[in-house]
Symmetry: C2
Subunit: 336 residues, 2 copies
DNA sequence: TTGTACGCGTTATCAC
DNA sequence: GTGATAACGCGTACAA
């Protein structure tokens, strides 16, 4: 592969001039510039961004750590991140933690070894020590889908408590009192945990006694979700509504309910969380708590890029609004 | 940031020894090794993979270019690629072309500048010159979701013609004769084009005259899909079945049909393509032509990694099997 | 405006 | 088993 040395030799100039043609073209006399450009063509010169990163100490790369790209909501935020990064000639290296804290820690380590300029992390469970180490090193990073709204690290997220509250309130407002919740496992996601708290608080505010047997923490995969909802629907007095901690779970719940002969929303109202793009293209169209995933990705990238340019004096906490989107998967309670 | 020089100084050894401790620990006397390891802790040494890539000329990075991560099917293959790459300590840099040939070309260029060891490309439209240039430079790359099954470049894909044929045959076998097709724009994806050919061939084999007015090329977004299907259903003699060139389009079509008061599958049978994970969690459960996206990603990564290790004498063409998955969105034609 | 010379952090090739 | 040192390709003072 040709280097600037080859180009310099062919063009009869120094390597410094070639470098200038690449980075500061206006600082080179037009004739010289042309000569250099011709030489680059002759030897099929290709710029080596790695070498630049090596000397400038910036790779224009950000690492992205999230549970799995297979959840459409994470795909959306990833796209937002990429769009913003691309605008600034940054690229994104992907890492899936699969909800595994150790994998997450390992990813942080290897991505740092690769000299990424910053990290966007959708943490599975706040491994305090790992993140504190990033802070200590002044390493730029932003938490995404974060539940924290203060403290020393920058974060982008939504109010999951409020979202859980809104979902539950919608159901309570429709007259439901036996409202179940299908939550992701609490030890892998505090988002789910916060939504559950919102759910509980709403029940309390509406004078509905909290029934622990109506909470199920689902395992991985939609098969597990089906089992959970079917167990719930097999109870003596089955729930008439269910709040699912994300849209994927909601789809699994609806399918599981149908399999057992329950109609949605007539026999069971279902609320999701996320508002993933597909949620309005399923039947019945899903009532859900929308969080602006794409914009959250963009915001996280904005904040991170700013942070890579100069150390900010304060961390940024950006909590975007959730929004209840009422569609067709929920209906008023009808007494039999 | 500490370097191996710092470590060497502290441990009282040469940089070469430090490097050996990192890469060939068994070639260092245990006591020396320990001393070095202690020194690394003392100065909080962190390995610089960039510097290694600089000298070894390998970055252990592959670039992935695809239309958009927001299509769950691409997310699945991406996950397959990442899983395989991770096994070999490779990382993946993402690039979305958004079905734009120029963006695609630009991405190839910048990723090469970044010294990725290879490229996996889901091409929007065979830009012959761009790919030929990769070949000429002996640059490792694999086409994914490719329609080519021979020629000088390695490729992984499925038989889209066959898939289109199978989908149509299923509908014809159910007695349908007015079978529409909702295809992605042909100039942005030859996959859609091949599926259309399979569709046409099947119609011919079943003695069903081809009606060009039953083909619609959809624009971007599911809104456009709804318009297309609704136009189709507004015809004097509307189709009784529709083959959609992917599952996302199928969801849009089902929703559009429902809006117009058509029931699926009673009034309209719908077949998708892809078999994305969610396709069995929608209602009605989608009949679709499954392509093993995750495995295709894995295969592409396998082939590429092998290629980065040593130049193969022959390109690999891997055509995986598609599979018709009959579910609930299709039903026999009932005459009114 | 252009050229010289050094440094970035690591690996690899020799010696010892 | 260990050390000295020359690459690798580029950016950048500083000098001319």
């Amino acid at each position: 592969m040709a280097t600037i040395h080859d180009v310099a030799k062919i063009a009869g100039v120094s390597t410094a001039t070639v470098s200038r043609v690449i980075n500061l073209p206006h600082k080179v006399r037009p004739e010289t510039r042309e000569r250099v450009e011709r030489a680059m063509k002759v030897c099929r010169y290709q710029y080596n961004a790695l070498a630049r990163g090596f000397v400038t100490k910036r790779t224009n790369t950000i690492g992205l750590i999230m549970p799995t790209i297979s959840n459409p909501v994470f795909a959306e935020s990833t796209r937002g991140i990429q769009d913003v990064a691309g605008q600034s000639d940054f690229h994104v290296i992907l890492g899936n933690s699969y909800y595994d804290g150790d994998k997450e820690a390992k990813l942080i380590e290897v991505l740092r070894e690769r000299q990424v300029d910053g990290l966007i992390i959708t943490s599975t469970n706040m491994k305090g020590d790992i993140l504190r180490r990033l802070l200590r090193d002044d390493f730029p990073f932003v938490l995404l889908y974060s539940t924290v709204r203060k403290g020393p690290m920058s974060a982008v997220g939504v109010d999951n408590f409020l979202g859980g509250y809104m979902a539950t309130e919608h159901l309570a407002g429709l007259g439901h009192t036996r409202i179940a919740m299908l939550a992701g496992s609490f030890n892998i996601s505090d988002r789910s945990f916060h939504r559950w708290h919102g759910y509980k608080k709403c029940l309390k505010d509406y004078g509905i006694p909290y029934d622990p047997s109506l909470l199920k923490q689902t395992g991985f995969g939609l098969g597990s979700v089906k089992e959970c909802i079917q167990a719930l629907l097999s109870k003596d007095r089955p729930p008439t509504a269910v709040f699912c901690s994300n849209d994927l779970v909601a789809l699994g719940a609806m399918e599981g309910a149908r399999e057992k002969g329950f109609r949605v929303p007539e026999d069971l109202s279902v609320v999701g969380f996320d508002g993933m793009p597909l949620s309005s293209y399923v039947y019945p169209r899903l009532t859900t708590v929308y969080q602006p995933a794409y914009d959250m990705g963009r915001r996280a990238a904005d904040i991170l890029l700013a942070q890579t340019r100069e150390k900010p004096d304060k961390p940024v906490h950006d909590m975007l609004d959730v929004q209840l989107v009422v569609r067709d998967s929920t209906a008023p309670l009808v007494s039999p």
